[in-house]
């Protein structure tokens, strides 16, 4: 469906691109180090990194108000960081420590922080969609004025949960922002082979929900589209879907050897690294010097390294923790 919401291609002075760059740098540093730590056996369980997709997390995250809701996926570290989740508590959780944000009971796939509106990463593909619809229902019925964002991949669009959730958001006209990160791969499979209608925007049209595609590797384009879409949601105009076209640098999970990616595809996407795209624009427009950008990336790396050192020093959870929080009183 065509839409009245369009991302501006021109730089707007209102766009805080330097901040968006800093968020992307933090996500890049976090995911890069987490991939290494997982490879080295320091982080247990399953880990799914969002390297290459930082533009979507930072662009959408930066466009939201502080108390907006976010429900995300198994590949959710970037979304959580972009919403301000504490880096130390998040890293400690990945290290399975008692001081982790979920006391060591969630892990990479379940980091959550309701105090920042983050309803959690989620290990069930498509689950974020109905949950975000419910958050939108709360926002509308309790007049909270909060937008509920569902992040999901294009792989989830083949789940029934997507279709049921989009339809519910539409008929109830809820303030739900649906953000599809189309990174081409549904686990090991090329998504374009799994549907006759690869465009998520086109599929969304069937539900009467406005939608627009955006270059997910251009953080400013994402930010502008998400800002306009969130404003629409807040104005009571109902849901909106963003299809952010991007690419997953690493495998479905860390360690996935990715034999399914054609030669050259990865390299061609890395040429459009979202940090490089933004960095070039910032330096060209005088928004920041390359030295300043390098410093932002160094600071992000140092922040993550400090969180790692802290996490390493923390004790394992008390065994009693396993029995806590099953039920509330």
């Amino acid at each position: 469906m065509s839409t009245s919401v369009q991302a501006s291609t021109t730089d707007s002075p209102a766009v805080p691109e330097r901040d968006l760059f800093a968020t992307m740098a933090l996500i890049r540093a976090f995911e890069t180090r987490v991939a290494e730590l997982y490879r080295d056996g320091e982080i247990p369980g399953f880990v799914h990194t969002s390297l290459g997709q930082e533009g979507v997390a930072a662009g959408v995250g930066g466009a939201l108000a502080a108390d907006d809701y976010v429900a995300t996926t198994h590949r959710g570290h970037g979304h959580c960081l972009a919403r301000g989740m504490d880096v130390d508590a998040m890293m400690a959780e990945l290290f399975a420590r008692g001081a982790g944000i979920c006391h060591g009971k969630g892990g990479s796939m379940h980091v959550a922080d309701p105090s920042h509106g983050v309803l959690g990463a989620n290990a069930i593909v498509g689950a974020s969609l109905p949950l975000a619809v419910g958050a939108g229902l709360s926002s509308k019925h309790l007049s909270q004025g909060r937008v509920a964002v569902a992040f999901f991949g294009e792989g989830a669009v083949n789940q029934g949960a997507f279709h049921e959730a989009v339809n519910l958001a539409a008929i109830w006209s809820l303030p739900v922002l649906l953000v599809c990160e189309n990174n081409i791969y549904a686990e090991f499979s090329d998504s374009r082979t799994l549907t006759r209608v690869p465009s998520v925007v086109d599929r969304c049209a069937a539900y009467g929900v406005d939608a627009a595609a955006v270059d997910g590797n251009d953080v400013v384009a994402v930010y502008e589209l998400a800002s306009a879409a969130a404003a629409r949601c807040r104005a009571g105009e109902g849901p909106f879907l963003i299809e952010a076209e991007t690419y997953r640098w690493h495998g479905h999970y860390e360690g996935d050897p990715q034999p399914y990616k054609p030669d050259g595809e990865d390299a061609s996407w890395r040429e459009r690294d979202p940090l490089e795209v933004s960095g070039k624009r910032l330096t060209a427009a005088g928004g920041a010097s390359s030295e300043e950008l390098a410093k932002l990336r160094e600071e992000a790396g140092a922040r993550v390294d400090a969180a790692i050192e802290r996490a390493r020093s923390l004790p394992a959870p008390d065994p009693e923790e396993a029995y806590a929080d099953v039920f509330g009183d």
Binding site: K105, P114, L129, P130, V133, G134, L142, A148, A324, F327
Partner: protein
């Protein structure tokens, strides 16, 4: 209806007590909403929600599409963000298309977030064999839910509990699976002045020789067996499977030395097996006879009323089993 069978003014039907429980919950807390297929303007397929839509409006009593995955998931998301939904799954059998929001979301999100998220949601499910509804509209699946940590499972057997357990479930900060047997909908009874809390079993009829533990619709059949047979039965209405009030069961079995567990659900791997195991574990030396169970044989529920009757536990089968226990030791 003849005047001889007309209920006194204080008596209500079970279905009206359910309705009254929901109405009171809606009245006392504006965060409470009722959701489900035709629960609103239609008043519910069994008329359980009759009049609520007119009284509380479409924003509080919400009709949904036939899309259980979507709207049950949305109810869970709404519960995470401030609402207290009572969501109806029209037939318990239909939970097959919306298990994820119950199993992986509602039951686990409090735990996985170390208590940061609270999920106060009631999943109303109607069940009941004996109405020629066929194998996809007759199943008693309560043991599935009792097997999942994080879910409470309540099964009101009386008119008083239809109202009181509904209110207790809505006020509970945890997800509650609320099982209604439609054969009870027309049953009549009084309301308790002093309701028992959720999690407490009730001695429905005191007796000396055999403890009979049951729940839901089968309570009536067990009470009839106690009237008809020669053995003195102490009938315990469990009211909830999770929490399971073992204290009341053990106290009774310590006196009688004999235990018979009766449920409408399939006997094999049913909740009766768990109770039998716990009693065997804790009272082995005090049992006069082996623990016995009486449930439905392991076959899908057939359509023919004659075949249904052949499978479901009858009062005669219960009294015979109890008398056999007394004869045994």
């Amino acid at each position: 209806m003849s005047s001889a069978t007309e209920a006194p003014a204080a008596e209500r039907r079970y279905i009206d007590a359910l309705n009254e429980g929901m109405a009171t919950a809606l009245e006392e807390d504006e965060r409470v909403v009722v959701m489900g297929i035709d629960v609103g303007a239609g008043g519910g397929i069994f008329r359980v929600t009759k009049g609520l839509y007119e009284r509380f409006g479409p924003e509080r009593v919400i009709d949904t599409p036939i899309a259980e995955m979507g709207y049950v998931g949305a109810a869970v998301g709404a519960a995470m963000t401030g609402l207290r939904p009572i969501v109806e799954i029209m037939f318990m059998d239909f939970v097959g298309v919306c298990l994820d929001p119950i199993l992986n979301q509602a039951a686990k999100l409090r735990y996985m977030t170390a208590g940061a998220l609270e999920i106060p949601v009631v999943f109303r499910m109607q069940t009941g064999a004996g109405k020629a509804a066929g194998a996809q509209h007759s199943q008693s699946l309560e043991a599935w839910f009792a097997h999942v940590p994080g879910l409470k499972v309540v099964l009101p057997a009386t008119v008083a509990d239809a109202r009181d357990l509904m209110l207790a479930a809505v006020r509970d900060p945890n997800p509650v699976v609320f099982v209604e047997n439609r054969r009870l909908y027309g049953s009549k009874g009084d309301i308790d002045a002093d309701p028992l809390p959720l999690g407490k079993a009730r001695v429905a009829r005191p007796g000396e020789q055999v403890t009979v533990v049951t729940w839901g619709q089968m309570l009536r059949t067990c009470l009839a067996a106690a009237e008809e047979g020669d053995a003195s039965l102490e009938v315990i209405d469990l009211r909830s499977l999770a929490p399971l009030d073992m204290e009341t069961i053990l106290a009774s079995v310590r006196r009688t030395g004999r235990l018979l567990i009766v449920h409408e659900a399939i006997q094999d791997f049913g909740a009766g097996a768990e109770i039998a195991a716990r009693v065997g574990d804790q009272l082995f030396d005090e049992l006069r006879t082996p623990v016995r169970r009486l449930g439905t044989p392991t076959v899908p529920m057939p359509f023919s009323p004659d075949l249904e009757k052949a499978l479901l536990p009858t009062s005669k089968a219960i009294s015979t089993a109890a008398e056999a226990l007394v004869a045994e030791g």
